[in-house]
C-alpha cells in the first residue's frame, strides 16, 4: 500500500535551530507508512515546489505531508498546488504548521518545540493514514431559471438572465408585472414618471421570447438543490411543474397602513405616501398646503428599522408639488433626513432650494393632527428652533415603512432559507448579500431589505449574475459549490447498517442537508451532497458515529488525539 511522502521545510533557517529538523527527519523516516522524507529550504517558492513534485511522482507515495508554515502564510497555496498532483484530491495533502505554530512561538524552548513538532507530524501522519476521500457528486444543470416576483428586482433579474441566453420563468402572484412601480407616480432621484420608467422593462420582457410570465401564480412546492430544483406552481386550480437550475426570490415587500395613527382613517385628507402617489398618478389636483410626517410606524419599538425609501420619496413628492405650484406650502416633519450618499444628498438640497420646509421633531413628542371631518392643521414642536408650531394643512401625508411580504415565511420554508425577525430573507453576511444559506437560491430587492426601484433593479442584476455561475454550466459538482478554493472537505457519509434513524443530524444541519428516508422498511438518514457544506455539525450529534466526514473521520481524529503527546498509537 503506497504511503506518505514527507516534506520538511527549513524556511531558510527560520524553523531550525529551534526545531531540530535533522533529528526529526530521521525519526519520521523510520515510521511505518512513510515512503521518504525530504528537507527543503523554501517550499513556497516555485523552484522548490517543482523539485517536490518530481520527488513525489518518482517516489511511489500517494499522500503528502508538508511540515512548514501556517495556512495564513503561503503554505495554503502550496498545498493547493500539490493536491493537483494527487488527482486534485485535497484530502491527500496535509499541512502541519511548525513555524508560526511551533518554532516561532516556542523559541526559548528548542527541546519542547522539537518534541512538539515531532508530535504534530506524528498526529498528522496518523490522520493521513485513516483519512478517506469522499466521491464528489456531479449533477446535470438545468439551464432554466425561476424568478419569483415581477417587480423592479425580478424584472431586472429576468431580463439579464434571458439576455445571457437562458429561459426564465417569471412567476408573479398578481395579474401583471411592475410591482411597486405600478403604484407610483414618479421615481426618485431622476423624477422620471414611474410609467415611463416601467415601460422599457415591460416592453423588453414582452419582446423576449426566453421569458415566460406566469401571472396570478404562486410557488406551491419546491424540492431539489443548486442545478436541479423541481418546482410546482399553482394558479387557481391549475398546476405547472418547473425544473430549473437556480431560483431568484424577488417578492418585494408590502405597504404598512397606519391605522390608529395621526387620525388616519378618521379625518379626510390624512393619507399614506402610496395613496398620494396614486392620486398624483391619476392627475388629481394637489391641495395647496401639504404636511408630510416621516417615520410613521417606523423606527419604533414594533418596527425598529428605517425603511430606506420614505425620506427620499417624501422629498420627491414635496419638491415636485413645489415645482408644479411655487405658491404651495409644503412641509416635511422628520426625525432625521435619511438621504445618504452623493445623489440623494443633492436631491435633498434641491428640495430645500425649491422651498420645501423641513422641521425636525423628537421621537417622544410626535406631531398632532387636528381637524373635524377633514384635516385642518398639524401641531409640532420644532426642536431646532425650540418653538411650537401650528401648520395649516389641507392634506397630511404619512410616510409608512415597507413591511416584509407575508409570503416570505412560506417561501423560506419551501427553499430552506432563513428569514430575519422582521420577515425579510436572510443573506449570507457580510460579503454575499444576494446569496442565502442554500446554494442556487438568491434574494434581491425589498424581499431582502427595503430598497427603492433603482437599487432593487441593481440587486436583480446582481442576483442574475450569481445565478449565471450555475446556469452557465452543463454540470455542477458539489465541491465547486464550496467557497473554498480547494473545494470543500467532501461531505458527510452514512453507513446504513448503523444508522438508527434518530434524526439528530436532520435537526442540527444548518443547511438541511440531511433527511430521513425509508430504506427497506426502516428510516435511515440520507445526505444531500449538493447541500452539505462539510461543517461537521452532524458528526457531533450522531449517537453512534454513523455519520462521518470521510476526510475528517473519527478514526483519523482519534489517531491525532492518541499521538498528540508522544504516546504510542494504540492498535
Amino acid at each position: 500500500m503506497p504511503g506518505v511522502m514527507v516534506f520538511l521545510c527549513r524556511c531558510c533557517g527560520r524553523i531550525p535551530p529551534t526545531v531540530d529538523l535533522s533529528a526529526l527527519g530521521e525519526k519520521i523516516d523510520r515510521e511505518e507508512g512513510v515512503v521518504a522524507v525530504e528537507t527543503r529550504d523554501t517550499i513556497c517558492l516555485p523552484e522548490d515546489r517543482a523539485a517536490m513534485l518530481r520527488s513525489f511522482e518518482a517516489g511511489g507515495a500517494d499522500r503528502i505531508l508538508v511540515a512548514a508554515c501556517s495556512p495564513y502564510g503561503k503554505a495554503d497555496d502550496v498545498v493547493a498546488k500539490l493536491s493537483a498532483a494527487c488527482g486534485g484530491d485535497r484530502s491527500r495533502v496535509r499541512l502541519v504548521d511548525i513555524r508560526e505554530g511551533c518554532a516561532w512561538i516556542h523559541r526559548r524552548d528548542p527541546v519542547g518545540a522539537t518534541a512538539k513538532a515531532g508530535d504534530l507530524i506524528g498526529m498528522n501522519l496518523g490522520f493521513l493514514r485513516h483519512g478517506k476521500c469522499s466521491a464528489d457528486a456531479v449533477v446535470a444543470v438545468r439551464p432554466e431559471c425561476m424568478v419569483v416576483g415581477a417587480g423592479s428586482a425580478g424584472m431586472a433579474a429576468a431580463l439579464s438572465i434571458a439576455r445571457a441566453g437562458h429561459r426564465v420563468h417569471l412567476v408573479e402572484r398578481g395579474a401583471g408585472m411592475g410591482g411597486m412601480l405600478k403604484l407610483l407616480s414618479h421615481v426618485y432621484p431622476t423624477d422620471a414618471g414611474a410609467e415611463e420608467k416601467l415601460k422599457p422593462s415591460l416592453q423588453a420582457i414582452s419582446a423576449q421570447p426566453l421569458i415566460t410570465l406566469h401571472a396570478k401564480t404562486r410557488v406551491a412546492a419546491a424540492t431539489g438543490y443548486a442545478g436541479d430544483f423541481k418546482i410546482r406552481l399553482a394558479s387557481g386550480t391549475e398546476e405547472t411543474n418547473l425544473h430549473v437550475g437556480a431560483v431568484i426570490l424577488a417578492t418585494g415587500a408590502g405597504v404598512w397602513l397606519p391605522r390608529g395613527l395621526y387620525r388616519y382613517g378618521e379625518l379626510k385628507g390624512v393619507l399614506t405616501l402610496m395613496e398620494l402617489e396614486r392620486r398624483r398618478k391619476e392627475g388629481e389636483e394637489t391641495p395647496r398646503r401639504s404636511v408630510f410626517i416621516q417615520c410613521v410606524g417606523a423606527r419604533c419599538p414594533e418596527r425598529p428599522y428605517c425603511a430606506t425609501f420614505c425620506c427620499p420619496s417624501s422629498i420627491k413628492n414635496a419638491a415636485l408639488i413645489k415645482k408644479e405650484d411655487p405658491g404651495a406650502e409644503v412641509t416635511i416633519l422628520h426625525r432625521d433626513i435619511m438621504t445618504p450618499g452623493a445623489i440623494l444628498e443633492r436631491y435633498y438640497r434641491s428640495a430645500l432650494e425649491a422651498g420645501v420646509r423641513f422641521i425636525r421633531f423628537a421621537a417622544d413628542a410626535p406631531p398632532v393632527v387636528s381637524g373635524e371631518g377633514k384635516v385642518d392643521s398639524v401641531a409640532v414642536f420644532d426642536t431646532i428652533s425650540g418653538v411650537k408650531r401650528e401648520i395649516a394643512a389641507d392634506q397630511v401625508i404619512l410616510s409608512t415603512p415597507l413591511v416584509a411580504n407575508a409570503d416570505n415565511t412560506k417561501l423560506a420554508e419551501l427553499f430552506h432559507i432563513g428569514i430575519d425577525r422582521y420577515g425579510f430573507f436572510r443573506e449570507d453576511y457580510p460579503l454575499h448579500p444576494l446569496e442565502t444559506r442554500q446554494a442556487g437560491v438568491f434574494i434581491c430587492g425589498s424581499a431582502r431589505w427595503p430598497v427603492a426601484s433603482g437599487d432593487a433593479a441593481a440587486q436583480g442584476e446582481g442576483a442574475a449574475m450569481k445565478a449565471l455561475a450555475i446556469l452557465g454550466r452543463e454540470r455542477l459538482s458539489a465541491r465547486s459549490l464550496s467557497r473554498l478554493p480547494e473545494g470543500k472537505l467532501g461531505h458527510a457519509r452514512i453507513e446504513d447498517a448503523f444508522c438508527s434513524g434518530c434524526g439528530n443530524c436532520v435537526a442540527v444541519c444548518p443547511y438541511e442537508a440531511c433527511a430521513l428516508q425509508k430504506v427497506g422498511g426502516i428510516f435511515v438518514s440520507r445526505v444531500n451532497k449538493m447541500r452539505c457544506r462539510a461543517c461537521g455539525s452532524c458528526t457531533s450529534v450522531c449517537p453512534n458515529g454513523t455519520i462521518q466526514m470521510p476526510e475528517h473521520n473519527a478514526r483519523a481524529v482519534g489517531a491525532m488525539i492518541r499521538r498528540a503527546f508522544s504516546l504510542r498509537e494504540a492498535r
Binding site: 444548518p510 462539510a534 450529534v541 466526514m549 488525539i561 498528540a564
Partner: protein, 153 residues
C-alpha cells in the same frame, strides 16, 4: 507580550486545542507571527468548524494524556456555517456539566468563541489556561480506566 513564567519544577500542563480554522487559527497564527512565547505543551488540531468537535473527542483527549482541552471557534453570529457554532457552544457547555458530574471538572475544558482571534488574545487565553491547570491533580488513575473501556476503539 509573553506568557507567564513556567514553573520548571513541574512540566507545563498538556493541552489539546481544537481550533476552528477561521477565527481561532487566525489568532494562533498571529501569536506565532508576533513571536509571542508560550509553553510548548499544547498541540493544535485545526477543524473546519467548532461544531465538528465531538464531545467524545474531548473525553478521548483527556484519556490520552491531555490535562486540559480547549475548544475555540468564531464569534457567535460570525460562524460561516450558518451559526453552527451556537449549537457547538451549547454542546460544549453541556459537556462541561458532564465533566463536573464525573469528577473531572469543567475547569479542564476551555471554551473560547471569538475571544482568541488576535495574537495577543490567543496567547493570553491559552497562557492563563495553562497556568490554571498547573495546580490541578493529575488524571492518571481515571485515565487508565477509560483507556480500557471497549467503546474506545
Amino acid at each position: 507580550m509573553n506568557a507567564p513564567e513556567r514553573n520548571d519544577k513541574k512540566p507545563s500542563p498538556r493541552v489539546l486545542v481544537f481550533a476552528c480554522r477561521w477565527c481561532a487559527l487566525v489568532g494562533a497564527d498571529a501569536a506565532g507571527r508576533k513571536k509571542t512565547e508560550l509553553p510548548a505543551s499544547f498541540r493544535v488540531i485545526p477543524v473546519e468548524c467548532a461544531s465538528m468537535v465531538e464531545p467524545d473527542s474531548v473525553l478521548r483527549a483527556l484519556a490520552s494524556g491531555a490535562d486540559g482541552v480547549a475548544v475555540m471557534g468564531c464569534h457567535l453570529g460570525g460562524c460561516r456555517f450558518n451559526d453552527a457554532n451556537h449549537v457547538a457552544v451549547k454542546r460544549m457547555e453541556a459537556l462541561g456539566d458532564l465533566l463536573d458530574t464525573v469528577g473531572i471538572g469543567r475547569r479542564r475544558l476551555l471554551l473560547s468563541f471569538g475571544t482568541a482571534h488576535e495574537g495577543h488574545e490567543f496567547a493570553e487565553i491559552l497562557g492563563n489556561f495553562l497556568q490554571e491547570l498547573g495546580p490541578l491533580p493529575e488524571l492518571t488513575p481515571w485515565r487508565k480506566t477509560l483507556l480500557n473501556l471497549p467503546a474506545f476503539r
